[in-house]
Symmetry: C2
Subunit: 205 residues, 2 copies
């Protein structure tokens, strides 16, 4: 195995370090976050950092780097309090990845990609048409991670739309039934297939 | 599509809610965290909440529910300052899932599962033999998420071991070359295959 010490990692060039460290923690969720500014300009950006925080209340989180690309997302969700999270499917990975390009503030990614916005449930932020999971979230809080000056954004789920065929009787949502992808590092997109589902683990006798 | 409002979600039974909300944010990383108490007792537990926090310095995070199963992990990493993160592969998903069973404090999951501990690089916490990615981390900080009383633990990577065949020239680690799995919800394990890798996105002309 190749061994990197902290010193070895630190000594690498910025891009090498970013590729290496972004990949080694494992697969990441693949979602598009959509927002709309107070002035009515929509924004759409791919995120690989959305995480489950808790189910009661239903909370999710994601990491933002205040000084880089998806800043419009943060400005919009702070000023309007709402954003949506939309699952990325196999057929749309190239378009989804393209939302990470730096467009000027007045240009909506909905206009320069194949994604369409839809409005429902009286929610101010747009949902992405065709996403098999769409979550309407209200911004609750953010935490500054002192160690590298990133932000953990916390949102509460107010609306959840899921394709019926993906939902099991016990509430579990089988993601491969919706062809939902996962992200490997910064730019790799992979399609998982379910191997097995276990039950609540108990000690061996 | 099935529509759940916040009220609909809240009204569900605890397990239904947990299955539903744990799955809808997308695929999660699949890792085993290993620690060793000051008294020398090892602990091993499956985690689906490990996330990338930044590459410079190399930081990862994970979410802990202080009142549930993996508490030994937190006690050990607070008292010894170190833990390891070890990728889960396809052939070991049943054993990995079993580490979530509640064993008494004196029993090590290394003794009741097929996983073996190895020690290297003078690191106090054990690594999991055979894991294609092994990360030795130093505990840096934790943040209490007020909204549901969970903790975000922040660790810095001091040692990284990666199988050579998985590392690209530019530092990217291709996870499917190591048969590394991903987690769907609480108990579903899936195997991804790479679809495509893109480059840094730039605006269309």
């Amino acid at each position: 195995m190749k061994h990197f010490t902290l010193e070895d990692i630190t000594a690498q060039k910025t891009r090498y370090k970013a590729h290496l460290i972004n990949a080694i923690t494992g697969y990441k969720s693949a979602n598009l976050i959509a927002t709309k500014s107070k002035e009515g300009i929509t924004n759409l950006a791919v995120f690989n950092s959305i995480i489950h925080l808790g189910s009661n209340p239903p909370l999710l989180g994601f990491i933002l780097r205040p000084t880089t690309v998806p800043r419009h997302t943060f400005e919009n969700l702070k000023s309007t309090d709402v954003f949506t999270v939309n699952a990325i499917t196999q057929d749309r990975i190239a378009e989804a990845h393209h939302t990470s390009a730096k467009y000027p503030e007045g240009i909506s990614e909905f206009d320069v990609t194949a994604f369409d916005a839809e409005y429902k449930a009286d929610f101010y932020a747009p949902f992405v048409v065709g996403a098999p999971i769409q979550i309407g979230c209200r911004y609750k809080n953010h935490y500054r991670i002192e160690e590298n000056n990133t932000l953990l954004i916390v949102g509460e789920m107010e609306h959840l739309f899921v394709e019926e065929k993906m939902i099991s009787e016990d509430g579990w949502v089988q993601l491969d039934k919706g062809n939902i992808v996962t992200i490997n590092g910064l730019e790799g997109y992979a399609l998982p297939k379910l191997l097995d589902r276990f039950s609540y683990a108990r000690p061996k006798k």
